[in-house]
């Protein structure tokens, strides 16, 4: 970065070739572990022992992934299905409750509004693991041990989501528009549904993507409360890596299949996700 060039008169510094070299090295370091994962997943087991390490894909992917499915204790498909169910339910709920609460905080006036918003902000700073042990006991009492409800219900709302949607609604929906709808005789719920929700859809979509990805990747709590008999995908992966760690090709095939959906989502919506993260950072 200290190329000695003085900055340009334009809005941004011009990038020197060295900038590109550094960024390309960073990109390669970011991508190589993915590449390595797909290489090992498509190769026979002996590939892992070879030096130099293999750099080209093989053709054994289906054989490797087939072995994942023959292990009844791994429950890979069930884990995948459970993850889809859990993430979908949570994402829909978080988007609805966050946009609704965000609308209330941004556009409706009520007693205690600022104090309640501040409370939500503060809950974002509390480490989640503080409540882990009693929560586990609660699930036992509720009969939710090894039950998907245990990994769904506590996450149906999100402080981050409420705050993000409040910020976005405040700037994206004009007060005049809401006044107008109200004069028309719309109830607040109708205003939410017909005026606010369409206007905040871009941010709501980003919130949905971020929520889905975070839930898809969660490991600690599902691992605490679910067993390999009724796992989410990550619990299933953790169990494979523990029980079959000598069969690298198989473990990597399972890992690749579990990672692929998120990579596809990211490739499709990366621009929006990056926009959401960066916008949130400036507003926070």
């Amino acid at each position: 970065m200290t190329t000695g060039k003085s900055s340009q008169s334009g809005r941004l510094w011009r990038a020197s070739p060295l900038t590109y070299v550094a960024l390309i090295i960073a990109a390669l370091l970011s991508l190589y572990p993915f590449y390595y994962m797909f290489i090992i997943a498509t190769r026979a087991l002996d590939a892992i022992n070879s030096t130099p390490p293999p750099f080209t894909p093989g053709s054994a992917f289906f054989a490797n992934f087939g072995r994942v499915l023959t292990k009844p204790d791994v429950n890979f498909w069930l884990g995948l299905r459970n993850s889809v169910v859990v993430c979908t339910v949570i994402t829909v709920s978080v988007v609805l409750t966050s946009t609704l609460a965000g609308f209330a905080f941004a556009k409706l006036r009520f007693r205690g509004r600022n104090a309640l918003l501040l409370t939500i902000l503060m809950t974002m700073m509390i480490p989640t693991q503080l409540g882990l042990i009693p929560l586990w006991g609660m699930m036992l009492d509720l009969g939710w041990y090894d039950n998907l409800a245990a990994v769904i219900v506590p996450f149906l709302t999100s402080a981050f989501g409420v705050f993000m949607m409040r910020q976005y609604t405040a700037s994206a929906v004009s007060d005049e528009l809401i006044e107008a709808a109200r004069v028309d005789g719309c109830t607040t719920l109708r205003i939410y549904w017909n005026v606010v929700l369409p206007a905040v859809l871009p941010a709501a979509a980003v919130l949905g993507l971020l929520t889905f990805m975070a839930q898809w990747n969660d490991f600690l709590w599902p691992r605490a409360i679910l067993t390999p008999e009724h796992p989410t995908l990550q619990v299933s992966l953790g169990f494979i890596s523990y029980g079959y760690y000598t069969d690298y090709s198989m473990v990597f095939a399972a890992t690749a299949v579990g990672t692929l959906p998120l990579i596809l989502v990211f490739v499709a919506f990366g621009r929006q996700i990056i926009g959401g993260i960066m916008e949130g950072a400036v507003k926070a």
């Binding site: 510094w13 009693p134 006044e179 005026v195």
Partner: protein
């Protein structure tokens, strides 16, 4: 607030349904007021209900549990006994607790310092007129969308002693194969690498967002004053970036001290001891060992949770004061 005090609104964006039946004026007004005054509470209620039941209540209960002898499984039949500060006294005298403190902070420092330096460096590079801007931003962020479990599985193999890619690369520099599982420093390094691989890009984008919010005319006047790029970075970018940098460091502290998945999976996935001699057992793993794995020790585990919470608060506050003080 009432509608009448508002200035006349702009023409309605949505056309009023023509055949809408008019309610009796008083009843309509009453319903309208109820809607305006009451509905906001209804709309924010879901968050407070869920958070109250599954967030706030367990957190307060953790504090209560930490003063009791508590059996997580048999609590309902046997109840619990108040033992005052005994759990905390035991904690202070437990070598494994201090081992976990050491590991947690060790990994945190080994991971966070280079991570923030790299993130600043990359953000500064990305904050230029670049070709393929979105592509480059996506490549630095893509590690963050991978599951921690997958990252730990892949890096566990990269760090293998006999055929791992890391040792293969190191042998070009004359380093003989390292048994990454065998020592504290090597476990910390391997785990910190996973953490950094996953989080550097994320922090880069947050810092980049902060950099882009800095008014451009500050740089223009610095250029007129003859300040070079390096000088501008230290005299303009860094001071202006302070709020963002504070945000990044605080989230790193809150997240980093709760580290769990990487060391668990790096050490064979299904136990929380963090290696044969607990080389990488973090505080969260130690808490888990003393609650979910040994359910009759849950009161002690709760004390570990409270201790971890206090450490996070103290560190985050200290960091806040430090960053604020360097401002002057």
């Amino acid at each position: 607030m009432s509608l009448s005090v508002k200035t006349p609104p702009v023409p309605p964006a949505r056309v009023q349904p023509p055949g809408r039946p008019r309610r009796a004026a008083t009843r309509g007004a009453w319903l309208n007021r109820l809607d305006l005054k009451g509905s906001p509470y209804l709309y924010i209620a879901p968050f407070f209900l869920v958070f109250g039941a599954f967030g706030a209540y367990p957190m307060l209960r953790t504090i209560y549990m930490s003063f009791n002898k508590w059996d997580l499984v048999n609590e309902r039949t046997q109840g619990h006994t108040f033992i005052g500060l005994k759990n905390y006294v035991d904690l202070i005298h437990a070598p494994y607790f201090w081992n976990a403190v050491q590991n947690t902070f060790g990994i945190f420092v080994v991971a966070t310092v280079p991570q923030l330096a790299m993130a600043l460096f990359l953000a500064n590079l990305l904050n230029r007129g670049l070709r393929a801007r979105t592509f480059l931003r996506m490549t630095v962020l893509v590690p963050n969308v991978t599951s921690v479990a997958a990252v730990a599985i892949v890096f566990g193999t990269l760090f293998q002693r006999d055929f791992g890619v890391i040792n293969w690369v190191l042998h070009f520099f004359g380093v003989s194969p390292v048994d990454w599982h065998a020592y504290k420093w090597s476990q910390w390094t391997a785990i910190a690498t996973m953490v950094d691989w996953r989080w550097t890009g994320y922090n880069t984008l947050i810092l980049l967002a902060g950099m882009q919010a800095i008014p451009k005319d500050l740089y223009e006047s610095a250029t007129i004053d003859g300040a070079g790029q390096w000088r501008q970075f230290w005299s303009v970018t860094m001071p202006m970036l302070r709020p963002t940098f504070l945000f990044v460091t605080v989230t790193s502290i809150v997240g980093g001290l709760q580290l769990f998945t990487e060391p668990v999976i790096f050490n064979n996935g299904y136990n929380v001891l963090g290696g044969t001699r607990r080389e990488a057992q973090t505080l969260t793993m130690y808490m888990w060992e003393n609650s979910l794995d040994n359910t009759n020790k849950a009161g002690y585990g709760a004390a570990v949770a409270v201790a971890l919470f206090l450490m996070i608060i103290i560190l985050a506050l200290g960091n806040y004061l430090l960053v604020r003080r360097t401002a002057k």
